[in-house]
Symmetry: C2
Subunit: 446 residues, 2 copies
């Protein structure tokens, strides 16, 4: 009897597992952060604030309503770091890893969920890929921490070890949380290290490494220097990333940071460009940047990083597909092509949907917050783009937002991290039975 009953249990789809697992981790994190031991002063932090913090950490966003360095205790910071690491790797990777480490056989169901979670091209090799992801992540995070150690040890002594580790993980996972705040100087991010090449280059290296995605690394690792043999997706990610790093950096260099010496100015422009698409650290005061630069940053935040990476946003592949499609239209070619490969119609359909969805969410969210809080729309758009791109940069308005606005940002962060299409596929029952094709009718656009 029992076994029959068990067989009747609902079969979860991989998308439902991803979302529920994620939500569960966030809820657990929020409850842990409410414990008095989590805050430096021994307070019970209100649930709305811990939920915001846990969502921000697990979604590797970095928006904060409490200064991480001065408000939370080492226990609280550890909870946040754990959430960041889980969020960066993804709940499914974690679950599969635990199953692997405990020696269990990975079921086909788990493999296929893992495939959906990291957008892997095929089910085969998932176990090998998971191992690669784990080794790569911890290896690089450790390496990053070693590079950061000299500076933090010099500035903070023994505590510097914890700080080097925290910032390395936070950077690789593109989380953007920092521990540098003091009670008399909240939310400083990395501004005190604006001219430090070691910190700048290490953090940038970690961000870029984390942001181009595990699949790209696997491709690079497998095929080494043979760029032509890379998957089309890896080529697109690598080249688009280069473009999206250096072009905005050049703009920032010429338009901002006028008072700085050239070396510092170069680092600063480059850092702000690298960090904007998803990492969320900053070494300069963003509200002091020009309006045009802030607009570029909003666009970069919405574009985000690579699929199957620690980054959020609508993803650089979406941006690349839409651009390639425009180029194909202009050249009157029937198919959208990149690097000698055709892109499917389904992909354009999804990319176009995602663009509309992100534009809609950022605009609507920004508008509601602007109305609810009576704040300038440009600052609110910066905030919503930052949330949906899981970036975490802010012009400074996050901490004083009301419950409605916090709720909107929480929803946007979750959506940005889980990915719009995952949410859609989870909410909807499997592909509907084939409808009768409607007759085609002409409609003019543009």
């Amino acid at each position: 009897m029992w076994s029959i009953k068990l067989r009747y249990r609902k079969q979860w789809s991989s998308f439902e597992i991803i979302i529920l697992g994620f939500a569960g981790v966030i809820l657990a994190g929020a409850l842990l952060l409410m414990l008095p031991v989590a805050s430096r002063e021994g307070n019970v932090t209100p649930f709305t604030e811990t939920l915001f913090t846990a969502t921000s950490a697990a979604c590797v966003t970095g928006l904060a309503v409490r200064d991480t360095g001065s408000y939370w205790s080492v226990f609280g910071q550890s909870v946040i770091l754990l959430l960041i690491q889980i969020g960066g790797l993804g709940v499914v990777t974690i679950a599969v890893s635990i199953a692997m480490l405990s020696g269990r056989k990975i079921s086909l169901m788990q493999r296929s969920t893992m495939q959906d979670a990291i957008s892997a091209p095929k089910v085969g090799g998932i176990v090998r890929l998971t191992r690669f992801i784990l080794k790569g992540t911890f290896g690089i995070e450790l390496l990053g921490a070693l590079f950061l150690l000299p500076v933090f040890f010099r500035d903070y002594g023994g505590k510097g070890i914890w700080m080097a580790l925290f910032h390395s993980v936070s950077a690789f996972c593109n989380a953007g949380f920092d521990l540098l705040g003091k009670t008399d100087h909240l939310y400083p991010s990395l501004t005190s290290y604006v001219g430090n090449p070691l910190v700048n280059l290490t953090i940038m290296g970690l961000i870029v490494t984390g942001g181009i995605g595990f699949l790209t690394w696997d491709d690079i690792y497998t095929k080494k220097y043979h760029f032509r043999q890379y998957c089309m997706q890896s080529k697109v990610i690598l080249l688009t990333s280069l473009f999206l790093i250096f072009v905005p950096a050049a703009f920032f260099f010429f338009r901002d940071f006028a008072g700085m010496p050239v070396k510092e100015r170069t680092l600063c422009a480059l850092f702000q460009s690298v960090t904007t698409r998803t990492a969320g650290f900053n070494t300069a005061d963003l509200s002091g940047m020009t309006g045009a630069s802030q607009a570029i940053m909003i666009v970069l935040m919405m574009i985000g990083g690579a699929p199957g990476s620690t980054a959020g946003g609508m993803k650089i592949t979406t941006f690349a597909v839409l651009t390639a499609n425009a180029s194909a239209t202009f050249r009157q070619r029937e198919d959208t092509q990149m690097f000698g490969r055709r892109v499917g119609q389904e992909v354009l359909k999804n990319a176009s949907t995602i663009l509309m969805m992100y534009l809609f969410l950022v605009l609507m969210g920004g508008m509601v917050i602007s109305v609810a809080e009576n704040l300038p729309i440009s600052e609110c758009l910066f905030e919503t783009a930052s949330a949906v791109g899981t970036v975490g940069l802010t012009l400074g308005i996050t901490p004083q937002l009301g419950v409605l606005s916090k709720g909107i940002l929480i929803a946007l962060m979750f959506l940005g991290r889980v990915g719009g299409l995952t949410l859609v596929y989870a909410a909807m029952p499997g592909r509907k039975s084939a409808h009768a094709k409607m007759p085609l009718e002409k409609i003019n656009v543009g």
Copy 2:
């Protein structure tokens, strides 16, 4: 010999004819406006300013670098009105009309050019359609002038006849030029009639009539009250227009114009919503509106009006197709559908291209102007969206712009009126010979 030579002349494509005809009209207008007799003071106005004015008029935009009412003479205003009428009807409609009126037979070439110019579904019935467009346009403009006459006659005496006619044509063509400026009160638009129901309702009626397009009117005229029999395109245009008029109007009503009595406030909110998508008149000071409302206006300006109408922008059908596509993705349907009809893949490809192009142009243009003029980015984006949507609303910065910024706005207005795809098709030689299909390769988006 002669006839042989003549046969060798280049065959222009319809898109080239549309663009060159348009450019020719603008150039002629700019030269006429340079004549001393065109300005009230008998000045020779600089070419950059007359080119801007002529482009703005022929592209029915309404951005002005000289106050139309106080700077230009009646001759100058007549040139502007003629340009507006040509721009509103379209150069090709004008050319075909002249050929028809002179009793000549309309060649297949002309019919097909006309078809492309007004985005008509088929070549057949073009002559009938042209007649319908001419009768409809002049009939409605005359009717509008009669409605406006009492108010303008009361306020301006005999000159009121000219003013009623000018504003009726300017409203129906969605041009947004007005003659109400005085040397001590420049660029007032219709602010002095903010509470006048007759002026408000007449102008709104003219704007909406002109903005939904000749093809829609032809559909309504042919099928009367049988909404179900309308083309899918007409249904989409009518319903999307209703949505895009009343939803923003409700927002403006609650967020802006707080000091006004309810009747005036309703009119004012409705007017600002109707005018924003392409007409460009205003009855309220736009720079006094909230940031959120200004952001909505930027979106509305980019969306614009119906294809084959006097309106600019990326067109409401583009917006509708992209939204329907998003809805189809969410519901996991393979095909994009509207009103029981399927939308072709080619249409989505074009719609997506247009969205990317407009986003790119508005952002890049706004950024360059912001840098060149040292103005806030939000105001510059408002200006570029206004130009590309051929709207003509401004937060007040147009008149003092430099040559580079004026050039950008001229280019955007031209592109917005001619339509992005027309330009593309004209610039590129006909559809390239079929390429070998590239192999399909998977890429993840979102």
